[in-house]
Structures are given as C-alpha cells and as structure tokens.
C-alpha cells in the first residue's frame, strides 16, 4: 500500500477506535430501573395514597420502584421529622428517597432535624449511592447507574447553572436528570412566573438530560424540544409518545412537571384549550390538571428496558391506578444513532 494512503487510513482507524471507546464509556443503569417522580406532597390522605401507589408498583406491575425523586415542597407543615416518619411508615426507613428543596421547605431546610439533615441521614442509609455537593441545592448523585442533579435553582443557593454544566460534563451516564422545584412560566401550565431562568433548562438540554420539576400542582409533559426557551418541537422526533434525548449544542430533551403528590390540585391557566392538541406551539404532549379532572399521582420512568440501555418507558399513574400518560424515551448516542425523520403530528 502506498504511503499516501496510510495516513488517512490511520486517521480512520483511530477515529473508529475513539468512537468505540467513547461509546463503551457510557454507564448504563441497572436493567429496569424504575424511578418515581413526585412534587408538592403535603400531609394528608392523598399524600399517603401517592406513597402507597409507589410502594405497590411492584405488586401491580411486577417492576418495583427503586427510588423516589421528590422535586420539592414536602409536608407544608415545617415538620421534617413528621415528614420523614410518613415516608418511613409507607416506603421504609432505608428506601432510596432523594429530594431537591422547594419554596415551602426553606424555612426548615437547615439546622438540626431540618429537611436537609433528615435527607442526609436517609442518604447515609442508602447502599451504593454516590452523592456530592450540597444535598438538595447543588448536589450530583449516581445511584444504580442513573445520574441526577438535585438543584435548588430558583429556590435556594447560587451558582446553579454553572454547577449543572460542570457536573453534567463530568458524567458518563447514559441517563442524566436535572431535577429542581420551580419553573419558568412557559414550562408549566398554571400561573407560576419565571423563577429559574433559561440557563439551567438549556444547559440540561445541551447535556442531553431530562428536566424534572414540580411547583405547579398538576402534571404536564412536553414533547421533544430543541429549544426550551422557545418551546421549539424537534421536527425529527415530534410524536407525542416518543421522546428523543440527545446531547450537543443542538441537543434535545423534554421537561415535565409532576406536582400531584398530595397537596392542592390546580387548573390549566395557559396553553388552552384543555384538550389535545393544546396551545403554546404544540409543545405539550400531555396536560393533566383539575380541568381534566385530575387526581393525585406520580410519574414513573423505567430506564434500560427491553434489554436496551438507551431506552426508557414512562407513565403517569394516579391513585385510582389510571394511566393518564405513557411514552417511550430513546437516548441518542454513538451507540444508538438518530432514527430517520418522523412525521409531525
């Protein structure tokens, strides 16, 4: 072989090796890792019913919930000990329960027996977790291969956007989550104002991380978005029940509000009409508020399904065991390239 063919060939081989090595560096979650996402809980019969729903998933579906991610607003009574006791009673003292701070948690966040201390005590009881940073405010965790940030952006602490960027860049997990309590007005369907800023949302999108929030007391989920700020739906992955998550400057992700863990249920103020297809750029795939006769419940996402580490399946289930939303998620990566262009609904 002539020498002038060897150099580009060498480049090609090195490139392929880099691609393979990068692909192999992505960490998968445990198979069928099921996560419950809740927010805005309270301390009443409905709050208990949601925890019981989470506990009973194993019996009802055959796949147990491995962990809870609670996006802020705990018991609304400033009683961290009682709140912890409720979780212990229904889910168990060692149950992997992680949370980010909400606006109704800040008065009793710090101090002995504050919410942060209670969560730290629980964290110490969780086997095989790895959390760094300031828990619930600027913390990054890996549990069973799932990487998630518990952020206080918009609620407590500072430096959130940079923290998100740095921690997401350092993660090699296939599945990454950005979790926090508050919203931007256009990232929910009630009357919540711009509390978070767009940097956090966009940094998570560029990292290919799913955005999980609470605060507005309803459930809503976007389609795949190429811009969070402009609510731009990805034309190549626009189906309501199919979501594509991909990192990069042109990365894509989706966001949801899961705020039906037990406290009041609110109506739909924005993005009317109240039936699909909704307003606001067709960005919303599902909206579930009092205008849709919502009751309390949780969002469940199971990662690494169908023997595919890059595939996940999600559904919102209420305390009457009704599924009100269901969808699949594909994490686009070197292992799983983007599918052919899909038609827009």
């Amino acid at each position: 072989m002539k020498a002038n063919h060897l150099v580009p060939l060498a480049h090609l081989i090195l490139g392929l090796l880099a691609l393979v090595s990068h692909a192999q560096a992505e960490t998968a979650t445990d198979p069928q890792l099921k996560v419950a996402f809740i927010g805005d809980q309270g301390s009443n019969l409905n709050s208990e019913a949601v925890l019981q729903l989470i506990r009973d998933e194993a019996e009802n579906t055959g796949i147990p919930v491995s962990m809870v991610l609670h996006q802020g607003d705990f018991d609304y009574n400033d009683d961290p000990v009682a709140w912890d006791a409720l979780i212990n009673r229904i889910l168990g003292i060692d149950f992997p329960y992680f949370a980010s701070v909400g606006n109704h948690d800040t008065d009793r966040w710090d101090g002995i027996d504050g919410y942060k201390a209670i969560l730290e005590q629980r964290l110490a009881r969780i086997q095989d977790q790895n959390c760094t940073g300031v828990l619930g405010v600027n913390s990054a965790c890996t549990y069973k291969g799932l990487f998630f940030i518990l952020s206080g952006v918009g609620t407590l602490g500072t430096g959130h956007a940079q923290y998100l960027t740095n921690e997401l860049a350092a993660s090699d997990a296939i599945w990454e989550l950005c979790t926090w309590h508050r919203n931007q007005n256009s990232m929910q369907v009630g009357d919540k104002p711009d509390d978070v800023g767009w940097s956090a949302y966009e940094e998570c999108r560029k990292a290919g991380a799913i955005v999980a929030t609470g605060h507005e007391h309803s459930y809503s989920r976007t389609r795949t978005l190429t811009s969070m700020e402009n609510l731009t739906v990805d034309p190549s992955c626009s189906e309501v029940g199919q979501l594509c998550v991909e990192s990069g400057d042109n990365g894509t992700t989706f966001a949801f509000v899961s705020g039906l863990a037990g406290i009041t249920i609110r109506n739909q103020d924005r993005c009317l009409p109240t039936t699909f297809p909704y307003g606001c750029n067709d960005a919303w795939a599902n909206i579930y508020t009092s205008d849709q006769a919502a009751t309390h419940g949780a969002l469940f996402i199971t990662f690494n399904v169908d023997d595919n580490p890059n595939k996940a399946r999600g559904y919102f289930k209420n305390i009457n065991n009704e599924i009100v939303d269901d969808f699949e998620i594909v994490k686009i990566s070197a292992i799983v390239p983007r599918a052919p262009v899909l038609s827009i609904d």
Partner: protein, 161 residues
C-alpha cells in the same frame, strides 16, 4: 337649485353623522363593563375572558373572604364547557381562610370533600360540590402573603344564582 340640493344633502349628512357617532359609541361599550376587548383571548376552540377590576361575570356565587383584595379573575369556555378563576390576597392565615370557607360553603349548600389531615399552615384547599359544579378554594402562604384562589374547573354548564 343649490338651495334644493342643500335641503337634501344637509339632512342626509346630519343623519349620516348621527349614525356614525352611534356606531362608534356602541362599539366602545362592551356588553360587560368588567371585560375590555383587550382582555379577551381567543384560540382554537376556546375563549378566555379576563377581568382585572372585579370578579368575572357569571362566576358562581361564592363569598370573598372579608377584607380580601381582588387581584384577577377569568372565565374560559370551550364548546359547551366553562371554567372560572378568581384570585385575592387576604390579611389572614391559611387556617383562618379555610375555616371561613368551610362554614360559608356549608351554609350555602355545598358538599365538602375532605382530604384528611390537619389544615396545613402553608397551603390548604377545600374541594366542594354542588350539583355538577366543583369548587376548589385554595389558600397559600408565600413570602408572608396569603393568596386565595377560587377555581371552578371546566364543566358542562354554569349554575347561576
């Protein structure tokens, strides 16, 4: 000749001027004094009317907490369905607000649904039904201010009192 033309044109002109003035005035007065044309949002199959001065017309007769400061109200319609919202700020605690509405709703024939548990200091709601109407009375304390929102979720028709 000119005088004859003027005798015809003048009254016609006056008639035209009167009709223009009448049309302009009629258009400037909305059917409901509380809703201005700029506060009406229309979209695919829905209309949302907002009132920034007083509770929107047609809102079911539910009391406002004594001393409540009105903030905002709207009505939304989609086909044969309608929903309402009214928002206030009050100088009272969440438990005080909730207890007030428990008594008032009971007295007015609403059936209260309990969520169990004590009234939370930070946020609490009542869900009440009368006929096919559901009312959510939500009181929330945030940044030292108690906000009261009365929401009537979308339903088939409006009960008027």
């Amino acid at each position: 000749m000119l005088k004859q033309v003027l005798n015809i044109v003048a009254p016609l002109s006056l008639l035209f001027a009167i009709s223009v003035v009448f049309a302009v005035n009629t258009r400037a007065q909305p059917a409901d004094d509380s809703v201005q044309p700029a506060d009406i949002e229309r979209g695919a199959g829905y209309v949302k009317e907002r009132s920034r001065n007083t509770r929107i017309a047609g809102f079911p007769a539910l009391p406002a907490f004594p001393g409540a400061v009105f903030l905002d109200s709207y009505k939304k319609t989609e086909g044969g369905r309608v929903g309402f919202e009214a928002k206030y700020s009050v100088d009272a605690s969440v438990p005080e607000v909730i207890r007030f509405y428990e008594v008032e709703l009971n007295n007015r024939g609403w059936r209260l649904e309990s969520s169990g548990g004590a009234i939370s200091r930070r946020e609490h709601s009542l869900v009440a039904r009368r006929g096919n109407i559901v009312a959510h009375v939500i009181a929330e304390l945030e940044d030292g201010v108690t906000e009261v929102v009365i929401e009537i979720p979308m339903h088939g028709n409006t009960e008027r009192q």
